[in-house]
């Protein structure tokens, strides 16, 4: 029992220790390690936005979105064409949009942040519209139909990006996506500025999700996830709530895509493959704890941590057998991690909260402590 309670902090600590320790030990260079960690933390923060969004869709609404990549892609490309300058007709680089300059007001350093803010909202709206379009024909059907549809759409969008090469420069990728505040700092400092931005966006997304989920709204979602018939018989418009959960999740995925696009500076069709843009996010949510927002964030940290650690291992003098196969070993390790967690902790590192409503949770905790105001027996 005691061990069971300590398991989650232990896993988090070990992963943190290795993520910090391995590069530090190998490079013996403080600045290098810190830079490495800044990039690592930025990636985790971006992935955490996606796991939180997927947690709304799967952990609460029970909607099976197996095409996270589709919303990721739409969000990232939308954000990119909102912040980039218009395409130069003389060059071979072709893309639509390019509103960056048009959106920059000439005061308060407007070009450094206004287009980015607009782009994040645009990305959310574009992903939300895609979600509505997908939901209308499929959401009334059984959940596996949506899973099939979303996989299909994710692949379809990737194909469209490649084939319609006037849209977002096709398979040649869209490069040179500006970063917010990049005009104020040099590249090294900007890495940390950008980490800060990613964390702020993550914090806002977390607050939005946590408040929405742990309320009567989230309670309806958890109810319909388990039993749609009973929830409809409880007077809830199941279709409307499912739609809201799915669309909110999709919009947040769009936000994640936008933050990703700014952070990478270049995106292409291969960025949004099923492994990195869908499967890994599912793995994170499963490992961390579907139905718990803290779990979703922890999952992003643990899975990406493991992913990074395994690559670090390659820097050591490993036997040839392993050295040659390190990329397969990574895939294997992530698979093994999921299986292990599902066997030992089927509900994830941080399982679903017992009480949905935050208000009720506080109330019950107070009365459990024997607070006379709350009263155990009325």
């Amino acid at each position: 029992m005691q061990l069971n309670r300590l398991a989650t902090p232990l896993v988090l600590l070990v992963v943190a220790g290795l993520v910090i320790g391995l590069p530090a030990e190998r490079s013996r260079d403080f600045d290098g390690t810190i830079n490495f960690l800044a990039i690592f933390a930025t990636t985790v923060a971006i992935y955490a936005i996606f796991t939180l969004a997927l947690n709304v869709q799967w952990g609460y609404t029970g909607v099976f979105n197996f095409g996270v990549a589709a919303f990721f892609l739409v969000g990232a490309y939308t954000a990119a064409i909102f912040v980039k300058p218009p395409a130069d007709p003389e060059s071979s680089v072709r893309y639509i949009g390019g509103f960056g300059e048009a959106l920059s007001p000439p005061f308060l350093g407007g070009d450094q942040w206004v287009p980015f803010l607009v782009a994040i909202f645009a990305a959310a709206i574009a992903s939300g519209i895609l979600a509505v379009l997908l939901a209308v024909p499929t959401l009334r059907l059984r959940e596996d139909y949506l899973a099939i549809t979303t996989i299909g759409v994710a692949e379809l969008l990737r194909r469209i990006v490649i084939q319609e090469d006037g849209l977002v420069n096709g398979s040649r990728s869209l490069i040179g996506i500006p970063k917010p505040f990049s005009g104020y700092f040099d590249a090294d400092t900007n890495r940390f500025v950008y980490l800060g931005i990613a964390i702020v966006v993550l914090a806002i997304v977390f607050l939005l999700v946590e408040r929405a989920i742990r309320s009567p709204w989230g309670r309806v979602l958890r109810a319909l996830k388990e039993d749609e018939t009973a929830t409809a018989a409880s007077g809830k418009n199941v279709y409307a709530f499912k739609m809201q959960g799915f669309v909110l999740g999709a919009m947040l995925m769009g936000v994640g895509g936008a933050v990703f696009a700014f952070s990478r500076g270049s995106i292409g069709p291969t960025t949004f493959d099923h492994f990195f843009a869908t499967f890994l996010i599912w793995a994170m949510l499963m490992v961390g704890g579907s139905g718990n927002n803290w779990g979703a964030i922890s999952g992003a940290f643990v899975v990406w941590g493991l992913w990074t650690i395994t690559l670090q291992l390659n820097g050591y003098d490993l036997p040839n057998v392993m050295q040659n196969r390190i990329f397969f070993i990574r895939d294997f390790l992530v698979g093994a991690l999921i299986v292990t967690v599902l066997l030992l902790r089927p509900r994830g590192l941080i399982p679903e909260e017992r009480r949905v409503s935050l208000w009720l949770d506080r109330r019950m905790r107070r009365s459990a402590r024997g607070d006379p105001v709350a009263g155990n027996t009325p």
């Binding site: 929405a212 409809a232 018989a233 007077g235």
Partner: protein, 259 residues
């Protein structure tokens, strides 16, 4: 009693599943303020009738009127909002939520169910939660589940789950309660309590109750009138004593159709 207008009027209701007629021109009515029993052999169409009234399924033909308004074909949540609340034969509480939250889920039109309210008007949602909490505690006291309020609904016994189903319906001021076999699987001691609760709902709160039940003792004790269904339509109607001595009812139960 017969002076009361029917709160629920079912006319020539037919429901077919493929080639099987589950309901065949079923006509019946439930009068306001009564506890009306619905009995009949297995496969008579009782649960199908409830599913149609509550909107879980759509009728093939015929009409259902509740307080004079057509409700057939409406989605379940709209019928709920008209004041018709049902329970299920096999209890369908939300097992992944606590007993308290199963109850707090029920009140209709909660402000906190509109997503912008938890974001922008947290204190309003909190006040509302407080009210629903107080009410849920009263209801739980009424059905004697107060001790289990913070347990997952999945941990309740079969009988307690039946009580929870009843408790859930009391969170939303129903005009008509449809209870599908409230006594099935409930032990004798709990059954007595359940019967008392149902009687109290009718006499104290004036809720009209329409219930399916196989336990004739319970039906005799609670219900007047009793409706008997067989092969998808109404066979007989009367007081429990009249029903017990009705030749056609006995035939239906004993498989008279095969004689």
């Amino acid at each position: 009693m017969s002076a009361q207008p029917p709160i629920l009027q079912v006319d020539l209701l037919t429901k077919s599943f493929g080639g099987v007629l589950a309901l065949n021109d079923c006509t019946l009515s439930v009068r306001k303020g009564t506890i009306t029993g619905l009995i009949g052999p297995n496969g008579a169409g009782k649960t199908t009738l409830f599913n149609l009234i509550a909107g879980a399924e759509k009728p093939t033909s015929g009409s259902i009127r509740f307080q004079g308004r057509r409700i057939d074909g409406l989605p379940p949540h709209q019928i709920f909002h008209q004041g018709v609340v049902r329970t299920f034969q096999i209890p369908r509480s939300i097992t992944t939520m606590t007993v308290l939250e199963n109850l707090m889920l029920m009140p209709p039109n909660q402000a906190g169910e509109r997503i912008w309210n938890p974001w922008l008007f947290g204190s309003r949602v909190s006040r509302e939660e407080e009210q629903h909490y107080e009410r849920a505690m009263e209801v739980l006291a009424f059905v004697d589940l107060l001790e289990l309020r913070d347990d997952y609904a999945s941990s309740l016994s079969g009988g307690q789950k039946k009580l929870l189903e009843l408790a859930r319906t009391l969170m939303c001021d129903p005009d008509l309660l449809l209870l599908d076999e409230p006594g099935a699987g409930v032990n004798r001691v709990l059954l007595k309590k359940l019967a008392e609760k149902i009687e109290a709902l009718s006499s104290d709160l004036g809720i009209t109750i329409f219930l399916i039940e196989h336990d004739m003792d319970l039906v005799t004790r609670l219900c007047n009138p009793v409706l008997v269904m067989s092969e998808g339509s109404l066979l007989a109607e009367g007081s429990p004593d009249q029903i017990k001595t009705n030749e056609r009812v006995l035939d239906a139960y004993l498989g008279g159709q095969y004689r």
